[in-house]
Symmetry: C2
């Protein structure tokens, strides 16, 4: 058994238009890289974090990946095992791409691998969620779920936790555009309405049912018709300059749908093939650049693997 | 081409626990039988209606089946064609089993068949919905959809109308118990809350997604976990005496789930095999009979055919 491991955990798009707090999918790019080494000293030590511009805490008990590992070690009764970690953020923080979830997943996945897999991969979820709790103030699973399990996941229930993995069609590609502005996750939650009309709830349920059926059949037209959010997007879109322009640019260039990734400010689109997904990305970036906002663009298939060992 | 036809259209269970206004499925039994004959006299004439205890109007312009045929004839420009009809209700009225929908569907299906199928079957839906409108005061499709198309249907959207048919597992059986009490559909709608908490909406969306995935995979445990309604059932259950007793009896006897059929008072359960579905039915009926309420029980698979010609 090795004493050192290097892993990658994928970024994720949560909510996916109609599925607030229940839908999420993983992408091949971007993601986090994490090197974990066994040490003789008890406790988890973070040596360095790259790509965070110094914003993430090096104190493991305050760091999303650190917490996830600590809770995992407690649960399997291996508190005496020491680890040291190098974390490389290959994605922007606070971008709505599940940055903290990817770090949590990378950490707990690496620890489980190094210790000879005492737990099945899906059983790592609660520990990764505790990492999320540190970062967001609430233990959500719609980023952690797909980052850990890969693919498109449904959080059917939080209590008890019940996560379902859906097949997705091979020719489905995600475009993610991250504008260089910042939206605080807590703010993005606080502006949401606490009460929803029964009418909107029915509309949203129809789209949730349609998206699940569309992905499973698969039926791209149905996916497209179902990528509609009448509850969250209308409220949160005001936090993203150029939202309507960028969304329309995606749709006009052939995207099946376009909405906010997680709590934003990143926006995602889904397309039926790679070329369209790239064209959509260019059009979305142009929408932001019209008002002088720089952005990054990522295009990939739906990640099916979740976290992987890369060295 | 015949001048006379006899058809059967199935009863339906709408809402199906978590899917208020969006889910419905058809059953093999009960249903409506309708005989339609071409006549030389313009207009639609209803000769007789059996099984309604004299409660349904014989005036075609006020009858759900009559209206559906009249609207269909107008749409295809065949107003000069005359019809006469005998309707045999093989199910209780106002029972939450889509009685008016079955009549509408039987009528418009029979007319379309007799005229050599000028329209595809799915395109008959708007006319059947107009029949429903007469009966319920609102043009719902969650009974008409599955009665016309068979199987388990999702109304993804009402505007524009978008209905999806889902495969259902072969070993899925429905139990329907109709207690001899009456709940008015309009009353059942009026007591519903117009605003839903975001938290309940998320829970319900999770179950909607879970039920669609469970049916399509198929995964009976997932179907069972998803047959939960936190929005409508808690409000409407008070209209049904013994609701909790009957529901618990179903679950204790092996049902995957149990809830209100449509707006009630009938209750439905889904089970994994026919024997369980029968046992569940007996237990549910006992629940009602404990307080002196008589009931009818129907057990069948999920109807896959929709309306059929039977003579």
């Amino acid at each position: 058994m090795n004493d050192s491991i290097k892993v990658f955990a994928p970024a994720t798009v949560a909510n996916v238009a109609c599925g607030f707090d229940i839908f999420g999918f993983a992408v091949d790019n971007p993601g986090d890289e994490l090197v974990l080494r066994k040490t003789d000293l008890k406790g988890v030590k973070i040596n360095k974090i790259e790509g965070d511009e110094g914003r993430l805490p090096l104190d493991a008990s305050k760091n999303t990946a650190g917490i996830a590992i600590i809770k995992f070690l407690e649960a399997i009764g291996a508190e005496s095992q020491g680890f040291e970690m190098d974390l490389k953020k290959l994605m922007p923080l606070g971008s709505g791409l599940g940055s903290s979830a990817a770090s949590s997943v990378a950490g707990v996945f690496a620890a489980n691998e190094l210790l000879g897999r005492p737990l099945a991969q899906k059983d790592l979820l609660p520990f990764a969620m505790e990492g999320e709790f540190i970062a967001c103030g609430s233990a959500h699973a719609d980023n952690v779920g797909p980052s850990l399990m890969g693919g498109f996941t449904v959080i059917r229930s939080y209590d008890p936790l019940d996560i379902i993995q859906l097949r997705t069609p091979k020719e489905l590609y995600a475009t993610i555009v991250h504008p260089h502005i910042e939206v605080n996750t807590k703010d993005a939650r606080n502006i949401l309405k606490r009460e929803i009309s029964l009418k909107k709830t029915i509309t949203q349920m129809g789209n949730v049912a349609g998206l699940v059926a569309g992905l499973m059949l698969p039926d791209y037209d149905l996916i497209s018709r179902s990528l509609v959010d009448v509850i969250i997007e209308p409220v949160r879109a005001i936090l993203i300059p150029q939202f309507d322009v960028v969304k329309n640019a995606a749709l006009e260039n052939g995207a099946l749908g376009c909405s906010i990734s997680g709590s934003g400010p990143s926006m995602f689109a889904l397309s039926k093939d790679f070329d369209t997904a790239q064209k959509v990305g260019r059009a979305m970036q142009e929408g932001f650049s019209k008002v002088g906002i720089d952005s990054d663009c990522y295009v990939s298939g739906i990640n099916q693997a979740g976290p992987v060992v890369i060295g």
